[in-house]
Symmetry: C2
Subunit: 410 residues, 2 copies
Amino acid sequence: MDQPVNQGKPRYRWAKRARDTIAPAVTAHGKLIELGGGYDFPGTLPDVVSEAIAAARSKRETLQYGPLYGLEDLRDAIVDYLRRDGISTARENILVVNGAKHGLDLVCRVFLEPGDLVIVAAPTYLNAVRIFKNAEAHFVSIPQDEEGMDTEILGNRLQARHDAGEPLPKLLFDMPDFHNPTAIAMSAARRQRLVELAKEYDFVIIEDDPYRRVRFGGASVPPIKAFDNDGRVISLGTISKILAPGLRIGWVNADPAIIRRMASHKSDGGTSPLLQRIVVQLFRSGKVDQHVAALSSLLRVHRDAMIDAIREHLPGTSVCAPNGGYFLWVQLPAEIDADELVRRAGNEGVSIISGRLCFAEEPAGSFLRLAYSFSAPDEIAEGVKRLGRAYVAMRSEVGAPTKEASDIDH
Amino acid sequence: MDQPVNQGKPRYRWAKRARDTIAPAVTAHGKLIELGGGYDFPGTLPDVVSEAIAAARSKRETLQYGPLYGLEDLRDAIVDYLRRDGISTARENILVVNGAKHGLDLVCRVFLEPGDLVIVAAPTYLNAVRIFKNAEAHFVSIPQDEEGMDTEILGNRLQARHDAGEPLPKLLFDMPDFHNPTAIAMSAARRQRLVELAKEYDFVIIEDDPYRRVRFGGASVPPIKAFDNDGRVISLGTISKILAPGLRIGWVNADPAIIRRMASHKSDGGTSPLLQRIVVQLFRSGKVDQHVAALSSLLRVHRDAMIDAIREHLPGTSVCAPNGGYFLWVQLPAEIDADELVRRAGNEGVSIISGRLCFAEEPAGSFLRLAYSFSAPDEIAEGVKRLGRAYVAMRSEVGAPTKEASDIDH
């Protein structure tokens, strides 16, 4: 050929789904007070030194490639752990993954073609939105009330699609216990109804349940998976919120036909057996239960500190006091742009998350997600005070009243 | 609606790419003599107890979520490590991943649409074939000779495609140093030529280089990446073959524009900072270098044991004695079906890999991949003896001569 096909600096032939990262890599170790990310509280991170020593010594297991589906001991420990939630499962239903997000990614691989529909709550988990968008999914967004995703609205939307001959969703994603970001716990009736709708309209439910045991009050109801009798529910679990995110161990509990297909897309050479062996020990010794009990007591204090600070510094906002989880979902007056408030709060020295990121489609209002998990109560108080400065300044610019209560629903 | 859309046990609406796993989960801990998988030799796995203790103690870093791109200390250690190969790179070019396969998977996400073409050697790395097939890629398979992938044939194929107005490949995948499965080391001229062809025909080269330092002899030539001056080469690295696969730490070295897009598809919540901190210490203390030097001396003995056994037990086969890596690539007489031999060898008590798995398209003959990495020399001798029983029985069934030499090229 006479001329090169391409000259100069390459313009890569990306796939359509190749998106640049939105922001540079961030960690919780900056100078801002961190009320954004769902990091674990550093003060209660567990001591895993003895488990790490034992695991490192078993090097013929832990430094070698591990089995594709995970260590049998860990899969069995997960089966035991789930049994206490009323879920009957077995080793062949469990796939060990590198955190629940990894499990969600694998679900997308084996179920979604570009353009397929996924049902999500509005709002929903921001990283799930990112993963579904990376899979080129489209969305059906369903509002929530205090009982969780509104199954009546969902049923009507599905029937209308069916009657109109429109494509039906393949997947539904939700977090029934202390939902991220709203902290809502779904009622048993709604859980049951979701499973019925899944059968009726032939979709699969992804139940992501990291916060179930981070509970301050209220009675627990069984997981959605406990209502499932024909393999339509895929449960995602993780030790990130009950132990430590840095160990990056999660699991999928699903029909073995689903598990096998997910495993064939697991391209990490197996989850690290060193980490798995550490976690097996922590499950067996009871440290997992001890840790989540201590953490829950403590986060209840964090939650209260944040609610007190919101009452003092964010007049005119509305928030529910949750019975568990890591987050508060703060509704702002409609005239306050959440993205702009996040930017200004950063200038004041506090990191928060715009509610806009928690919607797969258009936001249904102006919201913030505030995490009380990582920062200590005094930092939370100072962080919300800083946020309050940015907020009050914005309100005075738009001419809103500066003297009024915030609406806190206990 | 009157009738459920779907009744009875669900038939999942899989994506096209949802393939069942071929085999149940397997490990290297079975009763067969393992000459199949590229496992590390258990006798030289490094002692990482002190590093694990130190990492577990730094829990505010190691048990928390880590940065998306990896720990800065590890990215810097990788930059230093690559510099010794004549590669000039920087922290922003490095993405830490959960093994090189994970990196390859992320490359597929950001470059490939279903049906896109990928250039591979024939034969090539069997897990790369699986990952590319999971990404619904199609293949252009190029033969190898003793200098590596035949760039003249490749150039002709590309020109013919260009002239015919056919789609051109987006990616090329190869392992230039002690190729898996052939153990061939690519010549410098071929490496240079690959980079020229990538510019001319606008594709990106993926250089997977796990075995580069597992060398028994011969002079090393610079990596393909060292010939790249416009960001067309993506290097994949891993500690699996220079340290321990169980730690599941790999990296990608590429143009930052590529790294950022890969990071946005990294759905594992960050690679475990506990594992990363262990590996940082092993790089800094020189243990990585010590380990790979000891391992290479030892694997040379393994290689020789396997070649001696092949000479004794596999008459009529042909094999090259490699200067490095983990594998021997054994050409069988055309009348011996490799898949059937693998099955029969299993019955005799030895696990091996059919060469058929190492071809993206039709195999160019009948081959076995034998790993000398995992088993000790006496096990290798016994394993090849068992394989020989199955092989000789098959040969006698097809009426081939039983007395002849094997062709071993040193």
